[in-house]
């Protein structure tokens, strides 16, 4: 096992989670809980891949993926913002709808041949840094670098810009934001859509860059839900979200690599000699999500901090809210 390769691949795998999680952080900070990440990621992965297969241009695929997932998220926005429906149930239906749509339209797509993928890039000077250069800046997909920029940008946007402050106000105390002349519903639509587009980007990042191809619902294999969990663990902070995403990416990669060698440290590798034990390895990311959630929830309880106060609560002008 080569640690450099595991971390390098882990960063790449984590980028997918990073896009989805940062998108969910933005949506939830404005007060909209969107549990439909898995469905939107699948739509993104399917439509992006489909466009890349049919038109030969992965960039166009990326764009279409973001638009498709963004449109789908607006449906969630309409139902929860204007029709004041329950956000949990609406998010679930979005998952069903997105999964169903992508399976119906992705029929036969798994047999498509090789396509041109998003390019891999090595950054000239930075890649010369020992260890870090190899892990972070050598032969990584272009999407990974976009991920490096996105998380700090989102963090800065939320904490230090005026529109970011408005977004937080809408998520914490919409009535006050409304009195200040901020368009509460408009802002919520905007960030729901941004969150959806990022989920689409995450999906297309899987199918066009990180693990290319369309494998029906196994393309995402629950990563959308892991991203929802990471949002809570991240305490709605994009930087923590990035750290969590990369850790999860590395974990996923480590699990794949654990089954290869005949020896683990000093002992015989049980996962090599009993291939069925691999199923227990596959449980780890999901079990770890639960562990991470417990840690996040306990910390939130202890520090008396938590979700944006208006998360999941529809805003109706003139009605007593939270």
């Amino acid at each position: 096992m080569d640690w450099i390769i595991i971390l390098q691949a882990g960063i790449a795998a984590g980028t997918v989670l990073l896009f989805a999680t940062v998108g969910e952080v933005l949506a939830e900070r404005s007060g909209i809980l969107n549990l439909g990440l898995e469905g939107m990621m699948l739509i993104g992965a399917m439509s992006g891949y489909s466009v890349a297969v049919n038109y030969g241009n992965p960039w166009l695929g990326l764009l279409v993926a973001m638009v498709a997932a963004g449109l789908l998220s607006l449906l969630h926005g309409f139902v929860t913002i204007h029709l004041q429906a329950d956000q949990v149930v609406s998010g679930l239906s979005l998952t069903f709808l997105g999964t169903g749509l992508s399976l119906v339209f992705g029929e036969g797509l798994s047999k498509a041949g090789a396509i041109s993928l998003l390019p891999k890039v090595t950054i000239p000077v930075l890649s010369a840094i020992p260890y870090l250069g190899d892990i972070l800046f050598t032969d990584q997909s272009i999407m990974v670098y976009i991920g490096y920029l996105l998380a700090p940008a989102a963090w800065y946007y939320i904490n230090y810009t005026r529109p970011g402050m408005h977004m937080r106000a809408v998520g914490e105390y919409p009535a006050a934001a409304d009195t200040m002349g901020i368009n509460v519903k408009g802002m919520r639509y905007l960030y729901t859509c941004v969150g959806g587009m990022l989920a689409g980007l995450a999906g297309a990042t899987i199918s066009l860059a990180i693990s290319p191809g369309w494998f029906s619902h196994m393309t995402t294999s629950g990563q959308g839900w892991i991203a929802v969990g990471l949002t809570i663990f991240a305490q709605w902070n994009p930087l923590r979200a990035a750290a969590g995403s990369y850790a999860f990416g590395a974990l996923r990669r480590l699990i794949l690599d654990l089954q290869g060698p005949t020896k683990l440290l000093l002992w015989k590798n049980p996962f090599y000699y009993n291939p069925y034990w691999g199923f227990f390895l596959k449980m780890i990311p999901y079990a770890f999500t639960i562990v991470v959630l417990v840690i996040g929830s306990r910390e939130a309880m202890r520090k008396r901090m938590g979700a944006p106060a208006a998360l999941g609560v529809p805003y109706i002008r003139g009605q007593r809210g939270i």
């Binding site: 429906a85 979005l94 959630l293 929830s297 003139g318």
Partner: protein, 378 residues
């Protein structure tokens, strides 16, 4: 509190001769929820047809009609639909119980798998020898399925009660874990000659089918309907009684509708949370037992057509009423079969997604009355 009127500004901005107003309803007419549910299904079928058309199927409505004739036109079809409905009733109940307390148990799928596993373990481990008579085997397998599912529901329930961990995500993660757990036994421990399935159960561990009595009653020949169908309606009546006639059920529904009131009333919310999740998981586990005992008669991977998720739709369509769950499950069972007939793997999921969306969107109409008011003299 809810006395404000939401005004659409459309009238002013576009100078239409009328104005659409929404007023909160104080009372919902009795006929409206049913109309809305039926409307949601019709809308979903129409939109599903559009999606099928776009994806290359030329005559979606003709396909619908053919399938409806195939499924409800003869006893074989009806029996197949009821076989699908058998696990659906139980998972629908599982979701209804949990949702009554506003516990979002999305993990019925995993609880279903663990129920199937636990029931199989009785036969395959083996806990009971293969020559055990059926009247011992089947009740023990039912209990094992229920307990297995209940344990799988206990974990998220406990984490929610103790640490306030979001149950949507934990139940979902438990789904993935359950599937891998089953795979370990299907591919490894109980694999039959390297195939991805366990050996077939001994005959005494099978839930009897109608076809088994074909000798005495020839009309039953080929009908796959099995004893498991009875579990659902019996459980439905029991769940209905618990939810609407018992003190515990009242506590559950109170905690769902108004947690503050439930706390002031001195009910033990944390304990109820755990118990409700266990009951919910147990019902889903029983569904898993019914499926392997009555249909596949061995443990294998493909035992669920996403039943756990369909349970969510069923619960919502029947407004969490356990008795209506039975009827709705038959409808959704037909939908799952229809999806298979059409041959697009995602179509029943797609239609279910649209149904759920249409339902929750139309709840706005249940809460608000639409008024169209004239603003100017024409």
């Amino acid at each position: 509190m809810a006395t404000t009127t939401q005004k659409s500004s459309a009238g002013r901005r576009f100078a239409l001769p009328f104005r659409v107003q929404f007023e909160p309803r104080l009372e919902v007419p009795r006929w409206l929820p049913l109309t809305v549910s039926v409307g949601a299904i019709i809308i979903a079928l129409i939109l599903g047809a559009f999606a099928l058309r776009l994806s290359g199927l030329t005559h979606p409505f003709r396909a619908y009609a053919n399938i409806a004739k195939e499924l409800f036109g003869n006893w074989g079809g009806i029996s197949d639909v009821l076989v699908q409905a058998t696990p659906l009733i139980l998972v629908g109940l599982a979701c209804s119980v949990a949702f009554s307390m506003k516990l979002w148990n999305i993990g019925a799928e995993g609880q279903f798998f663990i129920g199937a596993f636990a029931a199989s373990a009785i036969v395959l481990a083996p806990v009971l020898p293969a020559e055990t008579p059926g009247w011992v085997f089947i009740p023990v397998m039912m209990i094992a399925g229920f307990v297995g599912g209940a344990l799988w529901g206990f974990v998220p329930g406990y984490l929610k009660a103790k640490f306030n961990v979001n149950e949507v995500i934990t139940t979902l993660m438990m789904n993935y874990i359950a599937i891998e757990w089953n795979n370990f036994f299907i591919f490894g421990v109980w694999s039959e000659g390297g195939f991805q399935m366990s050996p077939r159960f001994p005959r005494t561990a099978w839930l009897p089918r109608l076809a088994d009595y074909a000798k005495e009653i020839p009309q039953f020949g080929g009908l796959t309907l099995h004893l498991g169908l009875l579990f659902g309606p019996i459980a439905a009546v029991m769940v209905w009684w618990v939810l609407y006639r018992s003190k515990w059920g009242y506590e559950i529904r109170l905690a769902g509708d108004n947690p503050k009131a439930a706390r002031y009333a001195g009910t033990n919310i944390a304990r109820n949370m755990v118990l409700v999740m266990m009951l919910s998981g147990g019902l889903a586990g029983l569904a898993g037992m019914a499926q392997i005992g009555g249909v596949v008669r061995r443990l294998q991977g493909a035992i669920s057509s996403g039943y756990g998720f369909t349970g969510i739709i069923i619960a919502w369509l029947s407004k969490l009423n356990p008795l209506i769950v039975v009827a709705v499950s038959i409808l959704l069972g037909a939908l799952i079969l229809a999806g298979r007939e059409i041959g697009r793997s995602g179509i029943s999921m797609l239609v279910q997604g649209i149904i759920l969306f249409a339902l929750i969107a139309s709840e706005f109409l249940l809460r608000n009355r639409v008024r169209i008011k004239r603003t100017r003299e024409a």
